[in-house]
Subunit: 256 residues, 2 copies
DNA sequence: AAGTGGTCTAGACCACTAA
DNA sequence: TAGTGGTCTAGACCACTTA
């Protein structure tokens, strides 16, 4: 059976030991080339770059490969693509970075510290103002409020308050039957386990530690803390509203 | 010339008006199907799912399409893929979300507010402790420190302190010649313009407003502020260290 | 050595949109 | 209507990793 050998591939390999790069036709190589031309000023911000067709000819690869490279750059916000118009170098350098939100147990263990969890409160009550807004309900509703804190080598790492909608607790495997469940497993982990793929919104803000938050983090009331708010959706409806607080030393690092 | 007609496509279309979905063979549809099986518990966390080959047969599409779908899920942290081993549903629900960091002018204009910028300080001095660490240099170095604030409808939106390495100012089009440049154009925008594709690190933390930061944001000293720290690299070396502070009301929203 | 994902290719058609 | 990006396909080879 005759193997079909891509000519461009062959010609490159036959040119001998010229290379640091293994194969010049990877989408990563194309991406690097395009990035280089943008960086060098050859394709300044706001300008149109050649079409996929033209680039595939110039770079000696398939259009799909160019497409893959340009799609990655578009996902990073470096270029903008529109049908019929073409591909434009982004005018404003707005970078898109990724943030990995891990379960707190992982966060602590990644530090090489010993993980511990304590439930500090667990009660049924009316929602706070913020919880009402986040969960889109009114004051007549009754929710489960669970407060916890997480320790890394016995030092406070994070504390958390989470409002759980009855709809969530009524789920199969839910905690409706056993209200003491969250003493053993933090609500966040239970949530991650119960809803295999979590959907929702996340936002980050700075706040002054108040009340139980200051106590749990062992800081003075009024100390700045970083708050991560998460609304978890189930079938498109909000069912949990969590606020996690981190002491000032904590740093959220973004990156690929 | 005979056109090659994908049989699966044809058979689907010939089955008549059964569908809300236009085409069932898109990678988005495959992704949704896989996601559904994970959510339903058919493929529980930690389990192996079928190979691309098997899925492509089952779903009646090309393996490349399955690959695209699964790659997207892997990028979101929902599944983990390893050659020879297969594809596994992620055990810990660690979600990866994206954060768009825009230039502050865009941030303010997106609020529908009027943008204004003021340079409050501009001096050459020795680096602070944090700047030394971020820029990997010692106290003998002299840097340009520029402090600015940004106003949205005349209300303080953000303030910024940025340390610039001489190497950066010496660039073509640099500010070495004209130290008053940053009165007209904020350093961050100048940076975005000068370095078309910015590389660097970003981290987020909560701090107490102090000194000029409190003054510029018009808040009491000690007020919690959210700080975004950015180190900008040029040819792999750090050349700028920026700290942007936002008042407590500010909310960083993550999401696609 | 063998199995799995990662990628490239050539060709085709589709979807969107400015002119 | 025409031009551009978006996607699918079938087949092939490569790269990595476990056995």
């Amino acid at each position: 059976m005759s193997q079909s050998i891509p000519s461009s591939r062959l010609s490159v390999h036959s040119s001998g030991a010229d290379g640091d790069r293994r194969r010049p036709n990877t989408w990563q190589a194309i991406r690097a080339e395009v990035l280089g031309r943008i960086r060098s000023g050859e394709w300044p911000p706001g300008s149109l770059i050649p079409t996929e067709q033209m680039l595939s000819v110039e770079m000696g690869c398939a259009r799909a490969t160019v497409n893959r490279a340009l799609r990655e750059l578009a996902d990073s916000g470096i270029i903008q693509r529109r049908r019929k118009v073409g591909t434009r170098v982004a005018a404003t350098t707005s970078r898109r970075t990724t943030l990995s939100l891990r379960v707190i147990r992982d966060e602590i263990e990644a530090l090489g510290a010993t993980y511990r969890h304590e439930m500090t409160e667990c009660l049924t009550c009316a929602p706070s103002q913020a919880a009402m807004q986040a969960l889109q309900l009114d004051a007549s509703e009754r929710l489960l409020l669970v407060k916890s804190r997480y320790l890394a080598d016995a030092r406070p790492h994070c504390c958390e308050a989470i409002w759980l909608h009855p709809r969530l607790l009524a789920m199969p495997g839910g905690a409706a039957a056993d209200p003491g469940l969250f003493a053993a497993e933090p609500p966040q982990e239970w949530l991650a386990r119960s809803l295999p793929v979590i959907q929702g919104h996340v936002s980050i803000l700075a706040e002054a530690a108040s009340g139980s938050c200051a106590v749990n983090l062992e800081v003075e009331p009024g100390t700045p803390v970083m708050a991560i708010e998460r609304v978890t959706l189930l079938d498109g409806l909000p069912v949990a509203f969590a606020r996690q607080f981190y002491p000032p030393r904590h740093r959220l690092v973004l990156g690929d």
